[in-house]
């Protein structure tokens, strides 16, 4: 289904995407029938609890994990139908930044080589040109190229490693970056530095972003629109401020309530979330959120709720939306 009309063709369009993992005799339903659009120049935030399929979705967009079915249209090209060189060329336009900044960098390679690697894969043969491009991008992310290029990842803090990952993602001048929990492993203070850097780089390089996180406050800080995922399915999508002011899906409301607020006068409401998400090996019938939803009834167990329009630009998959 179409989510919302965009003024121009979206840069990324995900249609009916299904991704499954087979573990022994069982199937993990990691991403089930997800539809998404990201307009050029937009940041779409993607939130949900651990294990709900955010990373799988990100990897399936890049075809690092081939989906069972569905399409991934990037600038009009279906990546799921592409192979070999054609796919490699498209991948230069889409880059990925990972959650664990230290583990995502090869510990035995120098920073200069790590950041230059995408250039080598892309066939930039002139070493002097590569050196120049690496220096430029390291300076752009706030590192001193002369000081860092010859050093190894373990000599850097988590925040600095995340700057290096961002530099590596930017070096080929991509159009689209998938940020998979880029700040989840960082302290509050360093997190703010990296979020600001991403915003700055977005403006400077004219990027479009898919920003994955489990913390709604972080997602809101950088996103134009937010998509909420639960156990492999999309629950709600809408403009950030609108979604926060008036969430339609009970799960979105629960995520908002769970954010710790730095104000002692606002004692946190107790027991916002009941229990943990069920296993994606045997997701609940009907609405997958029903086992934790305060509004669930028989219909929720019987029928899968479709994503429906609840307000301008806002869509929710719930039989009994809050608005």
């Amino acid at each position: 289904m179409m989510l919302q009309p965009s003024p121009s063709e979206p840069l990324l369009k995900v249609e009916n995407l299904v991704v499954e993992y087979v573990v022994g005799a069982k199937t993990v339903h990691a991403v089930s029938d997800v539809n998404l659009e990201v307009a050029r120049g937009e940041t779409l935030g993607l939130v949900g609890e651990s294990g709900c399929g955010k990373s799988t979705l990100g990897r399936a967009v890049l075809q690092l994990r081939r989906p069972q079915s569905g399409k991934v249209l990037f600038d009009g090209n279906d990546l799921t139908a592409m192979r070999g060189d054609a796919l490699r060329k498209m991948r230069q336009r889409v880059q990925l930044i990972f959650q664990d900044p230290i583990a995502s960098l090869n510990p035995r390679r120098r920073i200069g080589d790590i950041v230059a690697e995408p250039l080598i894969i892309a066939g930039v043969k002139d070493p002097q040109k590569r050196h120049q491009m690496v220096s430029d991008v390291l300076a752009a992310v706030g590192l001193d190229p002369g000081l860092v290029m010859g050093r190894l990842p373990h000599e850097f803090s988590g925040g600095q490693c995340q700057r290096i990952s961002i530099a590596r993602a930017l070096v080929l001048n991509p159009e689209f970056i998938i940020c998979d929990e880029p700040v989840s492993a960082l302290d509050v203070s360093i997190r703010a530095q990296i979020l600001n850097l991403l915003e700055e780089m977005k403006a400077r390089y004219g990027l479009t972003l898919l920003f994955i996180a489990h913390d709604l406050a972080v997602v809101k800080a950088v996103s134009d629109r937010v998509a909420v995922m639960y156990l492999g399915r999309l629950c709600e999508v809408g403009p950030s401020e609108q979604l926060f002011a008036k969430p339609a899906h009970p799960y979105t409301a629960l995520l908002i309530e769970a954010i710790p607020v730095p104000d002692p006068d606002m004692r946190p409401a107790e027991a916002v979330a009941v229990g943990e998400p069920p296993s994606p090996i045997a997701p609940p019938s009907g609405c997958r959120f029903r086992t934790r939803c305060p509004r669930a009834d028989a219909r929720c167990a019987a029928e899968v709720p479709e994503l429906r329009k609840v307000a301008a630009g806002q869509y929710a998959a719930c039989h009994y939306p809050l608005i």
């Binding site: 703010a192 800080a221 629960l254 607020v261 104000d263």
Partner: protein, 331 residues
């Protein structure tokens, strides 16, 4: 602080020898926790929160040198022998770590670990210990507790493992629980549940707690008093309500400002703290925060400010130019 003092940390120093020279992880820290009270300890990664909690627990690395006194329930823990400490840690002094696997044994079932702890410290017979284990798992919100007893830690999610670690920590009714970033590795939804769980059990048991975190949002609604640490020292200390009403130390203000606000429009630039905490093997001459502080003046680079009292004796801060205006509390 109301009530009787349960823990008092007096002039505690932790020195660690490293190839780069001496690393002072904790520098002359003084703190007290009253019976049944909660103290929040806040600061960036590497500022000494974990080393302070290990100093209290007498669980420092072998090569570490500890100075000062740790008075707990009338005894100086620094002078206790290993056997006495072991007894104390199982019974009246308990800990929950960021990574629950630190305290869980991967090759033993949940049931074995709980039952053995209960038998060792409370001298229960196996049937009574088993019954108590089921009660504890129920109390920490684990569904189907009888079945869980037969499972191994790796068969549980991160949130469930942390619940089990809390159940074990609570099992002997401790007087003080030290929770070192118990929710940093968890989702926000699970974090909220675990913090609720700790608060509920604490009230019920009249247990004191030290809640360590890097997020001021976590301590705001859940502690009686807050100590902010920077570069091994306590730089501001106040009752929680007073602190959020009027922060005096620029570092505390900067930590609060760096949290994304729910009522801010998307793409608002966050007031980040530039740079990083200083290298602890290369102590700074003046105020440790001076290289990053937007209020720093010449004196800040020359002299180290001591912890001084504000209007109320309970509110202390270490700064030559404390913030005068009451901090605006964000929604």
């Amino acid at each position: 602080m109301t009530g009787t003092t349960l823990l008092s940390v007096e002039n505690v120093v932790v020195d660690l020898p490293t190839p780069r020279g001496n690393l002072r992880a904790v520098d002359r820290v003084n703190l007290t926790v009253g019976a049944g009270q909660t103290l929040g300890v806040v600061g960036e990664s590497g500022c000494g929160k974990t080393m302070l909690s290990r100093a209290i627990l007498q669980l420092l690395p072998k090569k570490a040198k500890l100075g000062g006194r740790v008075m707990f329930d009338g005894q100086d823990l620094v002078s206790l022998d290993r056997e006495a400490l072991r007894k104390l840690r199982g019974r009246s002094l308990a800990v929950v770590f960021q990574d629950p696997m630190t305290s869980l044994n991967p090759v033993l079932t949940i049931g074995t670990q709980l039952i053995e702890t209960l038998q060792a410290h409370l001298e229960l017979d196996i049937a009574a210990a088993r019954k108590r284990s089921v009660e504890l798992l129920t109390a920490v919100g684990i569904p189907a507790p009888e079945q869980r007893l037969t499972q191994y830690p790796h068969q549980l999610s991160g949130g469930m493992r942390q619940r089990v670690a809390i159940a074990i920590a609570l099992s002997c009714e401790p007087k003080l629980l030290i929770a070192d970033e118990p929710t940093t590795a968890l989702d926000v939804t699970i974090q909220a549940q675990i913090l609720d769980l700790l608060a509920r059990e604490q009230r019920r048991r009249h247990m004191a707690m030290i809640l360590i975190t890097h997020d001021l949002g976590v301590v705001a609604g859940r502690t009686d008093e807050v100590a902010v640490m920077y570069a091994g020292r306590v730089v501001e200390r106040a009752p929680t309500l007073a602190l959020f009403k009027k922060m005096r130390m620029p570092y505390t203000e900067a930590l609060l400002a760096a949290i994304p606000k729910l009522d801010a429009a998307p793409h608002t630039v966050l007031p980040a703290i530039s740079g990083r905490p200083p290298d602890p093997t290369r102590p700074i001459k003046g105020c440790s925060f001076s290289p990053r502080c937007r209020y720093a003046v010449a004196r800040c680079h020359q002299e180290k400010p001591g912890l001084t009292e504000a209007e109320t004796p309970a509110h202390q801060f270490a700064c030559f130019h404390p913030i005068e205006m009451p901090a605006t509390v964000p929604a």
